[in-house]
Structure formats: C-alpha cells, structure tokens
C-alpha cells in the first residue's frame, strides 16, 4: 500500500518545487471543496495538502504561514451560509490541513513522515549502538535511585548534561542526514539516505526519551516511576 507513494518525484531532486495546496484547483487556483483524487491517484500527503515541497528541511515559519492561510479559507465556520454539504466538505479539508500541520511541525516529525511515506513504519524496537547502551544502563540505575539518594541525583544530573550534549550532536547529524535525503530522495542514493536518516532519528528519539525521564525524575522525585 505504501509503495504507491514511493513514486519518482516529478521535480528535479535538487529543488522540489512548491505546488498549490491540494484543495486548490491546479488550473485556476480556486478552492475546490469537492476535489477528489482521480482513480489511481493516491490520497494527497501532508506536503501536498499544505502545498509545500516534499523536503525535511523546511522553514518553520513557511509551514506556519501555509497552515494559517489555508485554515483561514477552509475552516467550516466560513461556510455556514452555504449549507451542510459545504460545511461537511470544509470540515474534511480543514481537518486534513490541521493534521498536516501537526504532522510536519518539527524536523524530527518531517523525517519520520518521509520514512513513513517510503513504507517504513517507525521501529518501536530500535536498538541503540553499544556506545549509547552503556550510558542507558547507567541512566536507568540513576533514575531508579534518584528518588531519595542525593548522590544518585547528582550522578543523574551529570548524566543529563551528557545526554543533552549527545542530543545536540545528534541534532546536527540529523540536519545533515535530512539535507542528504532532500537531495537524494528521488535519485540513486535514496535508499542509503533513508537508512542513515532512520539510524540518526532512532538515536535521537532514544536520547529524547532519556532526557525526558531524567528531567522528570530530577524535578519530581516521587513521580519518577509513573512518568512515561
């Protein structure tokens, strides 16, 4: 099912062109609330809905502007005078505009989304590399004991600083991997770019999770166990 998304992009890999938001008629640019995919055409993805190029590296402000301008035009409140059919259609389109915006807000989300479009579901059982694993074991111990033991808390605070440094490094690596994917998405290096993206994203998520748990354990000692 996901293969149908993995079609070659029409644009050159170097500069994917912004298209009109999907709900706008491709020819006239007018809102077409009744627009449906033609038979064989896949449902539009988040990028198509917002009229953004399919890239991981996008300007956050550009995404916000695209969302705001579309939601102002498509919100069902705008269509009350035009009857229930228009309201229902507006509801459907505006929900997808909101969903797209929610799904593309951060670089991490966009990276995960392009992997999903390529048919790669996020791997829940991601296994970190050995270097990370040793840190994780220390962290788990420190988190468990951070409740009342001041020494463990101090050790955890130190580990937290390590995690944050790691996360910053991973962020730079992720941006790099994202740029590589943006450039290669339709070309020969696409598969390798995806593999790299998947690995960096997996590590970043792992470290994010550790940072979250460590922060919670340090701010509210008793809540350490119930936090997730």
């Amino acid at each position: 099912m996901a293969e149908q998304f993995d079609r070659p992009a029409r644009d050159s890999p170097d500069a994917p062109r912004a298209v009109r938001p999907w709900v706008l008629d491709p020819a006239t640019g007018a809102i077409d609330l009744d627009r449906q995919p033609v038979p064989g055409e896949p449902e539009p993805d988040h990028f198509a809905i917002l009229g953004l190029p399919r890239r991981i590296l996008l300007d956050a402000a550009a995404i916000e502007i695209a969302h705001r301008s579309l939601i102002r035009d498509l919100h069902p409140d705008r269509f009350h005078a035009q009857g229930p059919h228009a309201v229902a259609q507006a509801q459907w389109h505006s929900s997808r505009v909101n969903d797209a915006w929610r799904g593309l807000k951060t670089l991490e989300q966009r990276a995960a989304y392009v992997l999903l479009l390529a048919g790669e579901a996020p791997d829940e059982r991601y296994r970190p590399p050995p270097s990370l694993l040793a840190l994780v074991l220390d962290a788990n111990e420190a988190i468990d004991e951070a409740g009342h033991d001041p020494a463990a808390r101090a050790q955890l605070a130190e580990l937290l600083t390590d995690f944050q440094a790691q996360r910053a490094a991973l962020g730079a690596e992720l941006a790099d991997a994202a740029a590589a994917w943006d450039a290669a998405q339709a070309g020969d290096g696409a598969s390798a770019a995806r593999a790299r993206l998947r690995a960096v994203l997996g590590q970043a998520r792992y470290v994010d999770n550790l940072i979250g748990r460590a922060t919670t354990a340090l701010s509210a000692p008793d809540a350490a166990d119930s936090a997730n």
Partner: protein, 643 residues
Amino acid sequence: MAIQISFGGDKRRDKKVVAVGIDLGTTNSLVAYVGADGKPQVIGGADGPMVPSVIAFAANGQVHAVGHTANAQLLTHPERTIYSVKRMMGRSAPEIVHELGMLPFQVHRAAGSAAVRIEVAGQKLTPPELSAHVLRELKARAEAHLGHAVEKAVITVPAYFNDAQRQATKDAGRLAGLDVLRIVNEPTAAALAYGLDKKPQGRIVVYDLGGGTFDVSILAMHEGLTEVLATGGDTHLGGDDFDRLVVATVAEQLERAGISVRGDAEKLQRLRKACIELKIALSASEHAVVQAELLEGQRIELAFDRTDFEALIAPLVEKTLAPCRQALRDSGLSAAELDEVLLVGGSTRIPLVRRKVEELFGKVPRGDIDPDQVVALGAAVQADIMTTGRRDMLLLDVTPLSLGMETVGDVVVKIINRNSAIPASATEEFTTSVDNQTGVVVHVLQGDRELVKDCRSLAKFVIPIEPLPAGLARVAVTFLIDANGILHVMAKDVRTGREKSIEVKPTYGLTDDEVVRMLEDAFDHAEDDLNYRMFLDAKNEADQILEATRRALTGPAGQRLDADEREEIDGAIAGLSAALRTQQADPVRKAQRRLNDATWRLAELALAEALNTAVHDPRLADVLAQGPDPAAVKPDHHGQRIK
C-alpha cells in the same frame, strides 16, 4: 436638553440579529448578541442579565418558572426545583448520583437507552431536556428584547468537556428549538471577546473558574486568528465546591450548638444560600456576617473570617494550578512568554484565587473585563462571525482530550492527541483475522490514560465487512473531530472505494432518534405548557375578581342588592370556583365573564359608594379646584420636549 423619541419602527427591528451567543452556566446563564454597532452586549432583565440556571416544576410536573423565580422556589420546594444541570450533562447514572450528593432526586436509566433520566415532580427527564428549559428561557428573553424570533445560537461549554458532554449540550439546544451553530469553549469565547476590543497580537492565558468547572487555555492571537495552543481543566471543580465546604463547616458549628440541618432539604437550601452570601462578602472584606433564616422566623447569625475561608479552599485552588502548568508545558511556552492573563468566572473574584494565578504566571491579571459576562459576549461575537460573513476573524480551537481505540490487553492506542487543532482527523485501516469474518468491533475512548478503564468510553460500533478470506478485506475508518469537538466516524472499503455506513451507538447520552422523538414530544408538550400558562393568567385574573367581589358583597354595596341579584352572583362565584378546578383557561374565562355580568350592578353600587366617600375627602376637592396639570404638556411633533 433634547430627549430622543423615536416614531415608527424601532431601529433594532430593522436589522435582524440572526444568531445569539449563550453562556449556559452551572449556576447562571446569559444571552448576548452583536448589535448594529458591531459591539456585543448582554441582554438584561428585570433582575439583571444573569439568569440562574434553575428550573422550578409545579406539583403537576409542569415547568412553571426558570431563573430568579425558580431560585425562590428552591427554598420552598427543593424537591421539585432543579439546579446544576450542567454537572449532569453527558454523564452516567452513578456519576450523576455522585454529583447530586444529598439532593432528593432519583436517577433512572431506561432499558435500551444510554440516556440517564432524573425524576422530578412525577416525570423522568434527561439532562438535555432539563437544560433545554433554561435555553428556552434565554431564547424567549432574547426574542422579547430583539422583537423577532431567534432560531440560531452559539453555546459555550467548558473547554475540558468531553464528547458526550458537548453532544448533550448540542441536544439541549435542539430540544429548545435552537439551531446550534457552534459549541465554543468558554475560555476561547472569553479571549475572542477580549481580542475584539484590543486587537492584541500575542499570547494570553485564560483562567476560568466557574460555578462547577475549571478551565485553563493558552492562546495565540494574530491578525484576527484566535488560535488555542493548549487547554486543560477539571470538570469537577468550581465555586459550588467552595460553597459546599463552607456549608459543611457552618453545619458542623450549628450541630455543636444544637441546631441540626442534616437531612432537611429546605434548611440545607437556606443554609446554602446564606453561605453563598458569606463567600461573596468575603471577596470584599476580611470578615463577613450574614443573617440566615433556617426556618420561618428562626434567624441565626453566621460569621466567617477570610483567613478561615482561604484555609478551607486553599487545597482546591491549589488543584487548579496543576492543569495550568500542564497547559503551559503542552503549549511549549514558559510563563514569561505570556503577554496577558485573563480571569473568567465568578470564582475568580476570590482574592486567594487572584493571588495564586498571579504567582503562577508572574503577571497581574487584566482588571478590565467582567468575569461574569465575557464568555456570553464572546459567544455572541462567534455567532456574528458565523452569520454575517465577516472574514477578518477566525477561531481555531483544540481538542482537550486524546482520542483512542481499545486494543488487545485493555490498552488504549491513541489516534488523535490532546491539544490537536480541530477539525482533526485520523484514518485507521482494519482487516479481518478469520476467514469469512463479517465485522470488526471498534471501541472508541477519550482520555489521556493508558488503560481502557481509566478513559471515557465514547462509543462502540461494528465495521461491516463482506465475507472474504482472512486479511483480504480492508476497511479504512476515519475518525473526525469537528470544530465543536464532537466525534464523527466514517468508513470506506479500501479496495472498492465505497463508503460504508456505520451505526455509532453513544455510550452515554441520546441517540439521534431519541432527540427527534423528544422534539416531537416537546411539540405536544409545548401546547400543554402554553395551556397551563394561559390557565395561570386566567386564574390570576379570576382570583382578583373573586376577591374584589367578596369584599364588595360584605360592604355597604352588597347590602343593597336584592335577593335575585345576590343569588345570581353566588351562583357565578360557585361556577368560577368549579372552573378553576379544571385547570383549563377556557372554562375559567367563561365563568369569569358570567361573574362579570352578574356583578354589573354590584360594581355600580360599589363605585357610587366609593365616589360618595371621595367627594367628602378634602384632598379630592383640592384637585377638582386646580384644573389640569400645566406641567403635563405632551411632546410636540418633533419628538422633543420644550423646557
């Protein structure tokens, strides 16, 4: 100074207000509209704009008052006077029993229906039906003020209301004869009304502590777009809880002094009323004293210190701060990044609440909004936006609770996270695990906990699937949360692309068919209600005539009647008394006409008697000697009075 007197058509009637905004509160409700000047205003009444959300039933089951008059009946007939209906909306029977506490109402659940019914004055009514009475009163108030029918409304609900509570509110509107354009979250409405004046660009937090519920919302406003970033709250926390604590404390003190109020609904209501007065007084002064009349003639003095009151409610006020912190986290902002703090709801007048909010957000709350009216004003603005086609403003809200589905192991898998902008949707694909399986059961829940038992069941439904080998059939189910925060479910066969119809049975509340049936019943009932009101009017008049006749008969005029006249009058009185017992307006009016005719000469005699007395009164002689009052000159045709 010129006084404007308008001739001919009233200006208000020239441009119709298509839709009104309604703040349907736990304790008080308000209705507002946007006038020709583009400004929202609340509609006042003889007792001010607030209509207590109280419904008084007569012994025969008819609703005979809503609002202030009904509030008065709370003291005399608590057993057939309903308040705090909002706390019952969209809830299960055990929850309502818990909400009602010590109130003397039975809660029923009919077989084959998910709707809960409250027994009052011999009738079993659902919370939306009860709430519809309050809405009808507000609708009538708006119609009387505007001079034309009002059929559309925007109604506000707490931001933290779940799907069932929103649906119940919408049903109530429908039952009251209103087309509910939109269900709007109260804090969002407040921000909208606030933003109208100030045209702010920035982030604001709305802290809304009402009678029964607490909400907090963080919003960003830019160029007319009011966008909710995060919301949180507690639908079980409000000023009523403060009242309950004060009542419990005072009741204990009274008990020690040998005055018992336990189990006595009337005494408890009187005590509650006095305690509310105490609470309100303590917002302005450090010490308050209130006279309570627990029984007719039994007056006692109740006194309370603000420090004691604050100690009492501090844990509850503290409880509101956790959702505030969570909303801040969810919005991704820090307190320092907020530009304004808005306080909404009567309970934010309490100094301790203001202090705590100021402390948490590090900012002095705005003092220039009326916490009681701002929500209704915002609802009116939204009604105006939706009906007048103005496009410069838009409200983009979020869903307060995550939406999920039940999966193996009684775990809930989230499909739409809380604080997602609405409308929002998610599509899930389902397939079969057994050959020739004809359906898949889906259980939809709302809430942010992991386990089914900790979330709120919204609905269950079966996706119909044609019998095929296992795994071949594929159905895509789309869950859509609309702009009102209400869930819709659609299904589509992935292979054929054909839409499938699904019957979604709500876990709590009314099905669409039930609402339609109630509307039909209400139509029949409307006639009953109207008849009864007409009877009450006729009865009032009849009572006055009976009283006047009896008085005249015992006076000097009565002595002058002959036996036939006397007999005729006695017969007519008996006839009217009998007609009153029918509780029908028509017989009463007929019998009243007969009494009128019969008392013609009695009235003449009584008038002559009165005039005779008056002529001998020196004051009347003065008046007769003076002639017409020179000051009573009528205004000239320009409509101006000349000085």
